[in-house]
Amino acid sequence: MAVLVIAESNGKAIDRGTLSAITAAKKIDNVIDLILFDESQEVLDFAKKINGLKKIICCKGALDGTLAENISPVIVNLSKNYSHILSSAGTFGKNIMPRISALCDSQQISDISEIISNDTFVRPIYAGNALATIKSSDDKKFITVRATAFQAADCEGGQAEKEEGPKIEQYEKTEFCGRELSQSDRPELTAAKIVVSGGRGMGSGENFSILDALADKLGAAVGASRAAVDAGYVPNDYQVGQTGKVVAPELYIAIGISGAIQHLAGMKDSKVIVAINKDEEAPIFQIADFGLVGDLFKIIPELTEKLD
């Protein structure tokens, strides 16, 4: 039996998390199909380049907002051909996968970080403060994959064939009204090599502009702690943490962030962590590779200026 990966895309490219899910799929089986809910030629061309896929199933119809209600019945139907159905564990996968899994009377496995065998997986629990190894007895396994735990699949040398997928019908009881997406020229938070994050210590939304300047110099994405989001300094999609985004860049710079457990859950797998905070007792320093105690309003401009 083969593995089906549900693609998340935005009309231009396939999401980084989907590429991680494909890498995870390769550890389960060598026959992997991808299902696309995006009619853009650009996305199809992107998908065709991905190494290791057999078929790309292209769906048409009621694709607006890729509503769980609309796409679940289609995947339930296709699932008879597959032993495992995977997606990334972003908000897209978290929204759709349990609906599909329940319709197939299967107990989903969320947010896996390691594959032990075809039925045994490791996943973080309690905000990553413990790791559970679990074995599934369901015939068919519905799984979401932690993007930072698996490398992105190669986007070269793909030889997949396109297949026309089933038409997506509109679910009568849910209407998609629209999206307000944050506009940014910076790399996406979960895909960035460097992330610069601000916390409550930033003091205001305006003050985030000094992080923007540093991020631009480093080619970094900008994130935030829940405290900064709750205080209204930045929008919700900046949030890194247990209930926000999980990131694991090469370099994570935490600025004015004290280091609550919930925040650490979203970034502690970063390769190198830098903490800049005026409170030398802040818990973030315990996990930081390099800590600098001091006034961020002096340090950040100086750091930005001295980087070449």
Binding site: S110, A130, T133, K173, C177, N236, V274
Partner: protein
């Protein structure tokens, strides 16, 4: 309209958890327990709807051991009207929980279910979506704003790239995100009143639902500890370390 709010009793979010000596579970003995924070937000939202005249009754349900009754009483003190305690000594998986909730939804004629988007113990984030699936209802997950207009409910959802808005016909399932509201503290008179509200106790085995777990926990372990704590003196030393020692810039 009748609203159902399921609540879960979990280790308090401020407690630093420990894996037990057998490496089979997280230790819950002598640990402070509280209502899952996302469920508190769900209770608060339901209570606000009732206060706004949009709902007549708020039914609370919790699945778990004896202690679950305390969590139901907490929800009563915030404004819940009556409750169900589904008694079990075992940890019920999300699919089982969804089936139990469906049973209550059907028997009680529920029109809106508001749940926390995830419980902070197993972080599964499944139950609401599963319940919507098996009821064939619309689902508005990770809600940061709700607006009821007659038989419709508008949901602003928190998604990875920003926000999304859906309009659903009720009956429907909504799951809460952090910014939906700020839950109230219960007043003393309301805590006293909560003691007299009715809880119907049912044993999980009486329900005619397949409650067998599908996932076997083979092992629970502590994650690798990160070695940190090193300090640098100034910006120059920091840049030097990042360039020459870590090689990340």
């Amino acid at each position: 309209m009748k609203i159902l709010v399921p609540v879960k009793r979990v280790i308090d979010y401020n407690v630093k958890i420990r894996v037990n000596a057998e490496g089979s579970a997280v230790d819950t003995n002598n640990v402070k327990m509280s209502m899952n924070p996302f469920d508190e937000i769900a209770v608060e939202e339901a209570v606000r709807m009732k206060e706004a005249g949009l709902a007549e009754e708020i039914i609370i349900v919790s699945i778990g051991d004896k202690g679950a009754q305390e969590t139901i009483r907490t929800a009563f003190a915030m404004g819940g009207d009556r409750g169900f305690h589904i008694m079990t000594e075992h940890n019920a998986e999300p699919l089982t929980v969804a089936k139990i909730l469906k049973d209550i939804v059907v028997k009680e004629g529920i029109e809106l279910v508001i749940l926390g988007k995830q419980a902070i113990d197993d972080d599964s984030n499944q139950t609401g979506q599963m319940l919507a699936a098996i009821l064939d209802w619309p689902q508005g997950t990770f809600a940061s704003k709700l607006e009821v207009n007659g038989k419709k409910i508008k949901v602003v959802r928190e998604i990875d790239g920003g926000l999304e808005t859906l309009e659903m016909s009720m009956p429907a399932v909504v799951t809460t995100d952090l910014r939906l509201n700020e839950p109230r503290y219960a007043s003393l008179p309301n805590i006293m009143k909560a003691k007299r509200k009715e809880i119907t106790e049912l044993n999980i085995d009486e329900l005619n639902i397949d409650t067998k777990n599908r996932l076997e926990i083979l092992k629970v372990s502590e994650p690798a500890i990160r070695e940190g704590g090193r300090k640098v003196e100034d910006v120059d030393e920091l840049i030097n370390m990042l360039k020459n020692e870590a090689g990340v810039i």
